[in-house]
């Protein structure tokens, strides 16, 4: 197993699951952001491993494009976190409830 594609896939799935768990269970908005980045990198790993396995270069180029897109996302994420922190002085996602359902009903 150590020399085959399975190990890479296994690692990528593991990272993806950890990232997903982080997004749904954490309340710190910074940790949520890091979990999403983790998931993106898991997908990157998957593409690179597959491209090496199939002897195709396309997967590696796809991984590079994903890195660039992830950076753009990071820019918006980080600036939004700064804005939110300056407004609320906290990173807890629970206090962002101005839009919650109960208030509007």
């Amino acid at each position: 197993m150590s020399n085959s594609i399975t190990a890479y896939m296994f690692l990528a799935m593991l990272l993806l699951s950890i990232g997903f768990l982080g997004v749904i269970s954490r309340k710190n908005i910074f940790v949520i952001y890091m979990s999403i980045e983790l998931m993106l990198n898991a997908v990157n790993l998957m593409f690179v491993a597959l491209s090496r396995y199939n002897d195709l270069m396309s997967g590696q180029i796809i991984a590079m494009c994903i890195i660039a897109v992830a950076t753009a996302e990071a820019g918006i994420f980080l600036s939004l976190i700064v804005v939110l922190y300056r407004r609320k002085k906290s990173l807890d996602s629970d206090i962002f409830n101005t839009l919650s359902q109960k208030e509007a009903l």
């Binding site: 494009c65 897109v69 918006i76 609320k88």
Partner: protein
């Protein structure tokens, strides 16, 4: 003209976005002149796009540069026209909303053009990775547009909420792409379908999983049942013209890509989805109806009813492999119908609230017809069209979808949709009743009917009526039949070589 003529619409919008970005800190330019420049670029793009409207073609422009990642066919021209009209309409109906507010700078219009550029690229992309990049260009610009007024915490929160869920769904799209890549060794739309043919004798379970993950992203972006919770909050938290833009254009672009993907590649996989999609549709209709009934705020009501409209659209989406061409043309027609009615309704409400930026509830409209009779008439037309009453474009759209569903044998879905339509009459007509059957007006400080936005909204209202009854008056003027014919032609253009 060479290949460049097929790319001109994209080029105009992209160049316009960059030019506006560079101009946005020029002190001498007022916000209305920047809006005029944005309009100019969009109109140029629209004209260069309409040139190929209704002509059967499929071209991969500059194949040695883009390697067939971008395609231009009748289908993409059709959808690009809708998207460009949507962007133009957003600027026009928001004219009085953006101008007095000093927080809307030139960058906002640049982002609007970038977002339109992304959506047009999504419609034109013939490859999964370029589709992902286009999707991200469109949504990243939207996140910033929603949270543009950073001093209003509602805007920033809506933006944050959309950002987290949107990037999560983006990751799922990529994961799906990776699984498809693992199974077929390609990400090009035409080739995936060839690899999945049963004759190849391959195990396609990985590809089914991947395609389902992409379907989930798609359901998220159009706010179908399990992924609908963000819709109301985000629409409610964003500025009204931006909500109008999101509700009308983004849904169109995502539907366009998914239709292309399913029609070209996933014919065999779609059978696995039928049960799943039927459940999704029934739940979408039920939950959207429940949400719309519960709202008191008009903006939230329109947002919830957009979930119900997603349900109607998905019905035609399910029946696409049985009745093919007519299903996809009914989707396209319904998208236009919803686009016009929602744009009109959101636009009128944003015009009414543009001076004091109040959040309008049903109560505010009591006796509204006595102060502003023409505005209430227009609002009634849009509500009638959203509810799907005969004589409006919404009726024709619903008629095609329901009759298509019955023809394809999905009686269950058609009946659920008709039930949802009956209930929807309650929350749409409540507004009309309040406007006409109460003597004393509550809402004061409504801007009078003058300037650009009301003229444009009136134009949309006429288009809504024209779409419903147009053909009976003047035989040769372009109307429903013309739009349906071109929609069928664009479906055919997907399968050209």
């Amino acid at each position: 003209m060479g290949d460049i003529s097929y790319l001109l619409p994209l080029l105009f919008v992209g160049v316009g976005a960059v030019v506006l970005m560079l101009l946005s800190y020029t002190k001498s330019l007022s916000i209305s002149s920047i809006a005029k420049i944005a309009l100019g670029f969009l109109v140029l793009a629209f004209i260069s796009n309409v040139y190929y409207f209704g002509e059967l073609h499929k071209v991969y422009p500059y194949e040695n540069v883009f390697f067939g990642m971008i395609v231009s066919d009748t289908y993409s021209v059709y959808f690009n026209s809708i998207l460009l009209v949507g962007a133009i309409a957003t600027i026009l109906i928001g004219w009085d909303y953006f101008r007095p507010d000093r927080r809307f700078t030139g960058e906002f219009f640049s982002l609007l053009l970038f977002s339109t550029f992304g959506m047009m690229l999504l419609v034109q992309s013939a490859e999964l990775l370029s589709a992902f990049i286009a999707l991200e260009i469109a949504s990243l610009s939207l996140y910033v547009m929603i949270g543009f007024q950073t001093d209003n915490i509602r805007r920033v929160e809506a933006s944050y909420r959309y950002l987290v869920l949107g990037s999560l769904s983006g990751v799922l799209f990529l994961f799906g792409t990776a699984l498809i890549y693992a199974s077929t060794k390609t990400t090009f739309l035409g080739n995936i379908g060839v690899e999945l043919l049963p004759q190849t004798g391959k195990d396609i379970s990985l590809a089914i999983g991947g395609a389902t993950l992409i379907l989930i992203t798609f359901l998220f972006k159009i706010s179908a049942f399990p992924f609908q919770n963000w819709t109301i909050d985000v629409y409610d938290g964003s500025p009204l013209p931006v909500s109008a833009y999101m509700a009308s254009t983004f849904k169109v672009a995502v539907f366009a890509f998914m239709l292309r993907f399913v029609a070209m590649d996933l014919g065999y996989i779609k059978d696995y989805w039928d049960g799943l999609l039927m459940g999704v549709i029934i739940l979408t209709l039920a939950y959207g109806t429940f949400l719309a009934l519960a709202q008191n705020n008009l903006k939230r009501m329109l947002a919830s009813s957009s979930i119900v409209h997603t349900g109607y659209l998905l019905i035609a989406f399910v029946s696409i492999d049985i009745i093919g061409e007519s299903a996809s043309s009914s989707i396209i027609y319904y998208l236009i119908a919803y686009f016009l009615s929602a744009m009109g309704a959101f636009g009128l409400i944003s015009y009414i609230s543009s001076s004091d930026k109040l959040r309008l509830t049903y109560e505010d409209f009591k006796g509204f017809s006595h102060v502003r009779p023409y505005m209430s008439a227009m609002l009634s037309i849009f509500m009638l069209s959203l509810a799907g009453l005969p004589g409006t474009i919404g009726f024709i759209g619903k008629f095609y979808i329901f009759s298509g569903a019955i023809e394809a044998g999905y009686t269950v879905l058609a009946t659920s949709a008709i039930l949802a339509t009956f209930i929807s009459i309650y929350y749409y007509f409540k507004l009309i009743a309040l406007m006409y059957f109460y003597p004393s007006p509550i809402l004061s400080n409504v801007p009078p009917l003058k300037g650009l936005p009301p003229i444009f909204i009136g134009f949309i209202a006429i288009a809504v009526l024209w779409g419903g009854i147009g053909n009976t008056f003047i035989a040769f003027f372009p109307s429903i039949d013309f739009l349906i014919d071109v929609a069928k032609l664009s479906h055919r253009s997907l399968f050209l070589q």
